[in-house]
Amino acid sequence: MAEAKELFKEFKIQSVSEFFRRNAAMLGYTGKIRSLTTVVHEAVTNSLDACEEAGILPYVRVEIEELGREHYKVTVEDNGPGIPEKFITHVFGKMLAGTKAHRNIQSRGQQGIGISGAVMFAQITSGKATRVITSTGDDKIVEAWVKIDVDKNEGKIVKKEKHPNPKGWRGTRIELEVKNVKYVRSKQGVYWYLKLTAIANPHAHIELIEPDGKLIVFPRSSEEVPKPPVEMKPHPRGVLTDDVYRMAKRTRRNTVRRFLIGEFSRISDKKVDELVMYIAALRLIKTEEDKNVQEQFYERLMNEEVEKVLKSFGRNWRKVVKEVEKIMEKPPEKLTWHEAEEIVEAFKFMKFLAPPTHGLRPIGEENIEKGLMGILKPEFVTAVTRPPKVYSGGIPFQVEVGLAYGGEISNGFDLLRYANRVPLLFDAGSCVTTLAARSIDWKRYKVDDLERAPVVLMINVISVHVPYTGTGKQSIANVEEIYNEIRLAIMDAARKLQTYLSGKHRRLYQVKRKKTFEKYVPEIARALSILTGEPEEEIKNYFLGFIEMKFAQSESEERAVPAEVTENA
């Protein structure tokens, strides 16, 4: 038997970069095509987010240069706010760090590893540092080569130069050299990724230079910078004890009551009073020994009968309420774990308004239509943005869809999936968007054969917390509330498409209809002539005259209709 000490001799600390290497797939670095797309995604997302926060109309230029076999240089340049010199290592070098990942906010990236992962990927495949050129528009341009110190687990600038900035250039340009990747124009590749990004961000001008030198421009079709999403205070139904406990330690408020009112949504002064009663009630219920009676109390509490429950414990209840009230008045940093636990437990029994949704930033119907029209050039386009909803009791989300038909769209159904505006390129099969889109009876909407129709459907699911099915974050879980919202949105858009298609078909139909009757006239005339003995030609003329007359009437009746038809044309 080996000695314990001996066994532990080799015990070493695993660095974050090692963790990265072991979990590359989870971070999007899996497969040669996808890895390249991920690198571009991280850089473009950073650019778009930065522009958005600074209120700048983004101009993003992506260049992919082939340096050798499976060896590329990726350059992404934007006209964003630039990065202050001292933050460069933080932005590009710190693993598990992010500008916003710690906030309760709808964001494009949720990995918390983002662009530093790209830097890391470049480093382990090519050994090269990432070159960053940036200026905030002041008098200097900073050029820095950033690497990750794999032992210390932080970024370091291996070389830095400063240049004058006579023309006041502002923006950031980063160059990453990567190996073991491949540029292919597939639906998982960079081209497709940028195309989808352009559709969802009509305010962005995006350019791509492919390895063969071809320039592709996805032009801007909206001049309006979307408002950046705002941070939303957590909803009492969405927090764990640990959250409350740690928030209490950090807060600058001076009582627990103020802390609760100030740092959570939907908690008012009155709600805190109610909370006190619930906590008191829960304390009293726990003193009850008969399990059945206890269950009944819990149930009544669930039905908002808190006062009755309290009173059923006799006079004692006022004393307990007093005790609990004291908690609310003490400094938050003195809140104990147990007290935090009591608060969270009470939250579960209380009724709250649904969480606020003002932090959600949909693309908007108009912008979706612009995006689809600008990039796909269809014959018809429509979009639906649904009002925000909540899932799992406390997490707000919102669904929007765009539907484009005909024009330059080739036959065959395409589904463009987005989560918080970010295109999802992988794992389409299990995604709630796919399931919802497939569940629609398209025939009802005059799309007879979806697989051969020139239809593009885009779906964007927006949430502070999108429920992905996997850590690759490429597929949204089949949450019932989201599924239903997507269906409603699609059906709404499909109805508009149906109206359009009906109008288009109706005009052809009238002509065809008249012919339907006319063609039978000779047959009818001959038969009636045999039956009645009257001359065939005469009978024919009676019938043709009758048809003319009727169609002249009906044409004028039906001419009123097209107004409704052209609504979306």
């Binding site: 009757f517 063609k519 047959e523 009818i524 038969a527 039956l531 009978i539 009676y542």
Partner: protein, 386 residues
């Protein structure tokens, strides 16, 4: 035991007259109405009594299915109607020519005769016989005449054997003097005359094999019966023949089918007409027909359990049921003419036992059993179902 105790020939109650002129004038009248409508700028139409279960009822007094008064209106200027409107007129003009010239045509010939490409299109007047047959049915309901009266014959099937003399045009013959073959019943029997009828009753037999068995066993001679083999569901010709033999010659009609929902349906059709042809029941049905077998009781009584077969489908008390034979039996239990305790008992028994029994299963006893024992016993004792 006196012979044929329970079965007696009765007095004739109908005399058949066929007047082609009636059909012709009706056709012309309808044509003229259409012409008047169009001349006065009205959308011309036909009113056609609706087919199907929704438009029939059981005349309790006369014991026949009759057509209700629901109409469907077929317009010229209606996208959904125009083609059928044209087809109706086309068929009417064809029938006019047939009847006027004294010719007969089969349904298929009528289809082909009227089928042609509509000038200037790739469309045919009729694409399919499935289009022309319903139009002819429509005309029967609309004009109130049999298709045979319009000189349109259905497919023929069935033969007869027995001591009766028939005149068909110039020919006169005794159907028991034609060897084992019997006489094949034509598609139209309107023109037949019964010169001599020397039998006590007609036995309508579902299968040719059973009819041949009875002929081989000399049953028609011994029992003084006319054998009518339907060879499955009775053709219109056979049903019209049965009707005429019963009403014009007073012959009792006794039906002998397999003991299964299909056999009982054959009986039912002979007796009351089918739902689809409700409008014809007065001329085609024979409500006074009786049923000799096979019954469910026969299985027990004659020890035939061994040669029964399982009903097909799912019984009503099982999940997904009733389907197949069971469903058919359940439907038959609701027929107005089966609302009597004898038939309800048989049908209930069938559901309970879950088996069917064929006529030919009687061969399990011996070949002559059916002719020497089964039929004479049941018929002469009057053990017949209503």
């Amino acid at each position: 035991m006196p012979k044929s105790k329970a079965v007696k020939r009765s007095q004739p109650r109908e005399h058949f007259v066929y007047d082609p002129q009636k059909v012709l004038s009706k056709l012309e009248e309808y044509g003229r109405r259409v012409l008047e409508d169009i001349k006065s700028g009205k959308n011309p139409y036909f009113d056609i009594p609706m087919r199907g279960l929704g438009n029939v009822y059981f005349d309790e007094k006369r014991k026949v299915i009759k057509m209700g008064d629901k109409l469907s209106r077929r317009y010229f200027l209606n996208v959904a109607h125009a083609r059928k409107f044209m087809q109706t007129l086309l068929t009417m003009s064809y029938v006019k020519r047939l009847v006027a010239e004294g010719k007969h045509a089969s349904l298929r010939e009528a289809y082909y005769a009227n089928k042609h490409t509509i000038p200037g299109t790739k469309e045919n007047t009729f694409e399919d016989q499935r289009e022309s047959d319903p139009i002819i049915e429509d005309l029967e309901r609309m004009l109130g005449v049999l298709r045979e009266e319009m000189h349109l014959t259905a497919d023929r099937r069935g033969y007869i054997y027995g001591d009766i003399v028939i005149r068909d045009g110039e020919d006169e013959f005794n159907t028991s003097k034609l060897g084992m073959g019997g006489w094949a019943v034509p598609g139209t029997v309107e023109h037949l005359q019964f010169v001599e009828v020397n039998v006590d009753y007609a036995l309508v037999v579902e299968t040719a094999a059973m009819a041949d068995r009875l002929i081989e066993e000399k049953f028609p001679k011994k029992e003084n019966a006319l054998i009518i083999a339907t060879q499955g569901q009775a053709s219109r010709g056979v049903r019209r023949l049965i009707h005429r033999l019963h009403y014009e010659e007073g012959l009792p009609i006794i039906v002998f089918t397999d003991g299964d929902p299909y056999g009982w349906y054959i009986y039912s059709t002979i007796k009351q007409g089918s739902i689809n042809l409700a409008y014809l029941s007065e001329k085609l049905a024979t409500p006074e027909a009786k049923f000799v077998g096979m019954t469910m009781d026969d299985i027990e009584r004659y020890g035939l359990k061994n040669v029964t077969e399982k009903l097909k489908g799912i019984p009503p008390n099982k999940k997904g049921g009733p389907t197949g034979d069971y469903k058919r039996i359940m439907e038959e239990m609701n027929y107005p003419w089966f609302q009597n305790k004898e038939w309800q008992r048989q049908l209930q028994l069938a559901l309970k036992m879950g088996v069917r029994i064929e006529q030919q299963a009687l061969a399990n006893k011996s070949l002559e059993f059916v002719a020497k024992k089964y039929l004479p016993e049941k018929i002469n004792n009057g053990e017949l179902l209503p």
